[in-house]
Symmetry: none
């Protein structure tokens, strides 16, 4: 049987160092061995710590630490530390960069990795408290919900609006020419809720509109690419999305995944009313025979 030769390339934090320690383990003195054990068990201590800390953790002297590093073939402790740092950095790289290394296998696979990373990064960064707060505002029966989006994400925003609108009334997308947008904003009330969606290379009119809405006392949330986004400045909560694209455009897959979570959470909170609305829509479809299974 030919076993695949260790396909798991993630490996432990310090492949390079482990190998050198294994190779030299026979020639290590007792004190050096204690240091080596700590290096293997707590790589962070090597990556972030100092010679003195590593010496204390292993119950030895600073000189022993440096001697071990030299014996392993490194240029002093600094060399060992650099090696461990590189290993750790490689392990926690956001996968978006990891992909470009292997000379891009097939196009579809590259997209797959990219989009998976977009979804994972976006949803892992999602703060539960902020989500709950947003949903609470979206669920308020007295509020009206407005969605504002840059041109690049307009389709996804429309998808978001459409699904929100199934769950509750008074959901609208702010869109159209300058006159229409300004009118819409001028009619906003402090009880209203705004969800603004825009990624870097921000549309100026979106930023301006969001700012204007905030001055009207509207409760704002931002879905954007960074906490340094101008949208974040006007928002109570900011949800950051990963949007690395394999083509000429940003990918809004992460944004849509986030939208799905928000919609699902809102549906959960509005269960009673939402199911009623869904049932009525269902009845209307059935009456008109609008849907079919085949």
């Amino acid at each position: 049987m030919i076993r695949s030769a260790a396909p798991c390339e993630v490996a432990s934090p310090t492949v390079e160092v482990e190998e050198r320690i294994g190779r030299a383990s026979a020639t290590l003195t007792p004190a050096e061995r204690r240091v080596a054990e700590v290096v293997l068990e707590k790589p962070q201590l090597v990556a972030f710590g100092t010679v003195a800390e590593l010496a204390e953790a292993s119950g030895s002297g600073a000189a022993t630490v440096v001697r071990l590093a030299s014996k392993l073939g490194y240029d002093g402790f600094t060399g060992l530390q650099t090696s461990v740092q590189h290993a750790l950095a490689r392990q926690l790289r956001p996968a978006a960069e990891r992909i470009r290394e292997p000379a891009a296998s097939d196009a579809i696979g590259r997209h797959l990795d990219l989009e998976l990373d977009n979804v994972a990064t976006t949803l892992r960064a999602l703060d539960d408290g902020a989500l709950t707060d947003l949903v609470q505002h979206l669920a308020a029966p007295t509020s009206r919900v407005f969605v504002l989006s840059g041109d690049a994400s307009l389709g996804v925003a429309r998808q978001f609006v459409a699904e929100l609108h199934v769950l509750r009334d008074d959901v609208s997308l702010i869109d159209g020419n300058d006159v229409a947008v300004r009118r819409a904003v001028s009619l906003m009330r402090p009880t209203d809720v705004l969800v603004a969606i825009d990624l870097r290379r921000y549309d100026r009119w979106v930023i301006d509109t969001a700012r204007e809405a905030q001055t009207h006392g509207v409760w704002c949330t931002a879905i954007t690419d960074s906490l340094l986004s101008p949208l974040a400045a006007v928002a109570e909560h900011t949800f950051t999305v990963a949007a690395a694209g394999g083509g000429p455009f940003d990918s809004h897959v992460g944004t849509l995944a986030l939208a799905n979570v928000i919609v699902a959470a809102l549906a959960d909170r509005l269960r009673a009313e939402a199911t009623d609305r869904l049932d009525r829509a269902e009845a209307a479809w059935r009456k008109g025979d609008a849907l079919t299974d085949r």
Copy 2:
């Protein structure tokens, strides 16, 4: 129902730092903002690097880096560095604790699993030959491209249309009332291309419209949930998508990922014309000062 208070301790690489940057973002000077961007994008540089390196990476001086750290409330750069180190160390805690991540009993984790699966299933099922063929038809300069979508996926379809339209002319979404739709179909020609998007509980009008288009000799492609879909019957190629949703609606994350792949492939094939179109759009935006970085 008492919601579990979501202890979810995973968090993103630098939750602490991110929060502080978001809070202070309004008071940051231009140079400080550049530094902050690097801090958010490359935490490793802060954790492993020095003030000088961070200064160079952000194109600013060492003093600015230290000032930013102080402004964020840290005790100098050292404090900022320590904070990032702690965050990174938490993130890469080996396997033992991270195994909980994919399991995920909380709502967000459930969505994460679902959406990852949607993307993976959809793109893994994507046939390279079919994709190439579709792109070839989409790239034909004599063809006109029509996109047809069920109501549930209309937003994603609009996103698809918008991006296609940046790459080439004559792309339109078939939408509107029955009269408008029938007129649009009646004017179709055998050289045209139709991409029909609809998932189970198919919209009858979408199926009918697609069939009608086919009788006009239009080259049809289906993006749907199954090869048994009625859309598949009229299509030259059928791309199946996974759309399991955590809420009351289907998730169109997989569909959007597929759309991204198609758009990217088309952009690749139309490189010359597409970049020209992108450049002209860019010039127009610049002239009107429509986009901004902050």
